[in-house]
Structures are given as C-alpha cells and as structure tokens.
C-alpha cells in the first residue's frame, strides 16, 4: 500500500471516529427526546433526522458545500469573524458527515430508549436516583445494545461515505482524501491492483465489524423487566 493510501486510511479512521463521538454527544439527547416526548413537533424532527437516508449524498453534500463555503451562512459568518470558511477542510467534512450519519445514531438509540420504558425510570426515582443518575445508571446499561448498534453503524457508515465527501471535502491528501475517494482515484487511473487492495480490505473489515457487533448483541440477550 502506498503512503498516500495509508494517509487516506488514517484520514478515514480519524473522520469516522470524530464523527461518531460528535454524534454520540449530539444524537443521544435527540434520541432521548424523540423517545420520550409527546410533543407533535417530534414527528417533524424525526422526518428531518431520517432525511439523509433517502437523499442522494450529493444533494446533502451540495447544500453543505454552499453553507460551509465562503459565501454560505456558516462559512460566510466565519469569514466575517476573521476565520477561514470550512469548504474542503477536515472540519467541514466532520460537520457534513455528522449530518449525513445522524439517522444511524439516532434511530437505534431512540428504539432502545423507548424499549426501556417508564417503569424502570420510575423505579429508579423511587430509589432516590436523580434524573442524570437515572439516565446513566439505568437507561444507558439497559440500552447497551442500542448504543453498540448505533456506534457501529455510524462509524461504518462514515467510513463508507463517498458523495458527501467528494462534494464538501474534495480530494486533499492528508486532509480530506478518504479511502472511498482513493479507491475511486485508483479505478479512474486503471490501477485495479491498488483499488482491489483497498476495496477488498474495506469489505472484509466492514464485515468483521458488523459480525462482531451482532455477535455481541446476541450475547447481551434482551432482558425484559
């Protein structure tokens, strides 16, 4: 594997890891709210969260590019503050990936939170646990399957993204050039050997990841209260 490909691998892993962490922090409260609220607005939020599932990545990427670019609402604001806009940057890529992978974090978590139910939370309250305490000592452990699934899917989905990256990140080695782009480049250049190596590696690694998760999820048998 060439050093450029190694660099692409590292960028990919870094992007996926950062995106997953950002989404874990961002997606958990959204999923919790969606699972618990009786507010009708939640349906709108749910639909918005699910949008990346059906939109072509290029559509999302295009809007992100416009928003993050020097004349967009986000990029423009940054420029006016004397900072740099975010098009074709790693940060821009993280923002776009976060949006793109949002449903993969939120939906499994929402289902898991909903399955915990009110009763366990009420029991914890009668046993003197404060709200945060109830969440971390009861809801999180009872939702571990959901967390495992959400984290894996988000990570794997970010590893596999192409369209959004191409639109927002471009192809800057060491900054925004990820594996999927590198494979595309190799295929374009008729370097099938390198393309095979990366594509095959990604295939095997993705399978192993998912296999492990499903194996673990089976071991954590569902326990109903």
């Amino acid at each position: 594997m060439s050093s450029a490909d190694w660099m692409a691998l590292i960028t990919t892993l870094k992007l996926s890891a950062v995106t997953t962490i950002v989404l874990l922090i961002l997606g958990t409260p959204i999923a919790w709210w969606l699972a618990r609220t009786k507010n009708k607005v939640s349906v709108v939020v749910e639909a918005v969260v699910a949008l990346p599932l059906v939109l072509p990545p290029t559509v999302l990427g295009f809007y992100m590019l416009v928003a993050l670019g020097p004349n967009g609402p986000i990029g423009g604001t940054l420029e006016s503050l004397g900072l740099h806009h975010l098009a074709f940057t790693f940060t821009g890529l993280v923002l776009a990936s976060t949006l793109y992978s949002l449903p993969f974090m939120v939906q499994p978590l929402k289902d898991a939170f909903a399955a915990v139910g009110d009763r366990m939370i009420e029991v914890a309250a009668t046993l003197r646990a404060r709200p945060w305490d109830r969440f971390f000592s009861v809801v999180v452990p009872l939702s571990r399957r959901g967390f495992l699934t959400a984290i894996t899917l988000t990570f794997a989905h970010t590893v596999g993204e192409f369209g959004v990256v191409l639109m927002v990140g471009g192809n800057i080695p060491g900054e925004t050039r990820v594996l999927s782009i590198a494979i595309y480049d190799h295929a374009e250049a008729m370097d099938y050997a390198s393309a095979h190596l990366l594509a095959g590696g990604l295939l095997v690694a993705s399978f192993l990841l998912l296999f492990t998760v499903y194996l673990l999820n089976r071991r954590y048998t569902v326990v109903h209260p």
């Binding site: 009763r119 009420e122 914890a124 309250a125 003197r128 000592s137 326990v223």
Partner: protein, 356 residues
Amino acid sequence: MSIRARFKLDYANFSLDVDLDLPGRGVTALFGPSGSGKTTLLRAVAGLEHAPGGTLSVNGDVWQDAATFRPTHQRPLGYVFQEASLFPHLDVRANLEFGQKRVPQAQRRVSLDQAVAMLDIGHLLGRKPARLSGGERQRVSIARALATSPRLLLMDEPLAALDFALKQEILPYLERLHDELDIPVLYVSHAPDEVARLADHIVVMEGGRAVAAGPLTDTLARLDLPIRLGEDAGVVLDAVVAARDKEWHLAHMEFAGGRLWVRDHGLPVGHRARVRILARDVSLARAPTTGTSILNTLPAVVVNSVDDAHPALTLVKLRVGESPLLARLTRRSAHALELAPGRMVYVQIKAVALIG
C-alpha cells in the same frame, strides 16, 4: 403522627378528589375496584403523578404544598410496584444496594442485612432477576424498598400478579414487616383477603373519591355504607390464640369482647391472628340456647339496624364487649325479637374464618 393528603387531579375520563388524614403508623389499605383511583392516589403520594395544588405531609414533613413539590427522588419513600420491576442488568445484591447507597449514611435505619433477613433472600444475592421465581422477585423488590429506610412504604397491589400459592408465600413476610418495622404502609389492593389480613386502617375508594375511611374493624361494621370485603358484609377482629383443644382440634381465640372457637390451624398459644365473621353467619336469640350445634354464642347489645338490599332482610349492628359485629336477619325475625337499640341479645355465630 399522621399523613395528610389532599389531591385533586383531572384527566379526560377520570378525576381524583381526595382529602385524607391517615394514621402515621400501621398498614392503611386503599381498597376499591379497579379504576377507582387507588393507584393514582398512590402515585400522587410518590410524586410520580404530578398533582399541582395538592398537599401532602408525612408525619410532619411537608412533601408537597402550594410552595413545595419534592420530586420523587427527594421523598423518603419506598415503592413496591405490582410487577417486581427489578433492574434486569443488576444482580439481586446490586438491586438492593441501588437505593441504599443513594441514601445518606445518617438516614439509614434499616441495614441491608436486616432487609435481606426479613425477606429471607440471603441465598439469592448473587442471582440475576431473570433467574428468580415470581415470588422471589417480589420479595427482593420489597427488600430493595426497605433498604432505603423509607419513612413511608407504598405498595401497589404487590401480590396481584402472583398466583394463590405465591401469595401465601409472601403474605407472612408482609405480616412480619407490619409487626417488626415501624414504617407506615399505604397498601393498594382490591383483594379482600389481603386487606382483611394486613390492614389496620382502610380507605374505601370509588370513582376517584374516598367514600369511607377509618380503622378497619369499625369501618367494616358501618351500617350506613356496608363495605363488602368479598362476598358479604362482615367484620374482621383482632384476636389472640388463648388456648388449644387438642381433642377436638379447636383453638380458642380471644378478642376484645370474648372468646371464639375456631378450627385449630396449628397456631401456637399467644399468636396474634384475625378472624372474620360474615353478617350472614350470625343469628340472634333472646336467651342463650342449648341443644344447638353452634359452638360460639356470646352476649351482645344491639346498636342499630338498617334495611338490607332485599326488603325481607335487615342488617343489624351489635356490640360484643368492645367489638362490633354485623348480623343479617329477616325483618320478621327482628320484629319477633323486638330488636331495638340497647337490647341485650345472644349472638350465635355459625362460622368464623381465621385469617393469617
């Protein structure tokens, strides 16, 4: 020592409106059919149901009033749900410790060992809830609530999800709590046998309102509002095994008013138990009768009487010593006996049920 509770809650098709002054000790049963608001009341006491405008104080400690609403986790209570609701990801010991370790050291009055011993669950500590039987689970959940040293124990039909045999397994533990711990209990139930066995006080709920409240014996003997604990109106009396007749397999139960022969169930002399006497099993006579198969005949005074459901019948309240008794007879018999308040009669009791 009392629990003052005033709640008004309006839902789409149900409203709760109660103003209660309950004793701050002993077991108070919230009794009534399903949908009568018992559980809603209990949840409001726990703060699980937000009842704005309600007031609640427990033995002088204000949990809720116009200015205060202590959330559930700040109310020193224990709550036992109908389903044991143990945390499935924790073993029995961790379930027990969950509540206890969140209670400040200075407020702990019931030790974990005490709670474990009282419910007899020492051999289960290492097990996960999924490996427990239904009865064991409920015992653990009761112990878990006790381990928080609650100032008020709330029990929401803790036996309703269990079959008859498991109920019989758990009832003695509940009686033990009653006898050994000085924690007031609000006990929601629609099961007459549980109420007859465990309650000292009763609040009868109907349609979101408390239609009667008071000491169990007196409340059950009310004529203005005959409360059926099960099939018929009747009284429940506290009694003690005074003697046992080995030859005839009978036990002599002493209550505030006299002694009654009941079938010997093996309870030792000195053991406290309750007896239930239904109105239909009591008949009256002007003089002590001889040559009868009835074992229990006691002198009594007529208090008053009311018409019963059928025009042929009347329900008579009597006093045997300090204990009330109900008798159902035909109006014709009542007339023949010239029953009137204050009249001395003899009650003949055909059947006495020993409970607990």
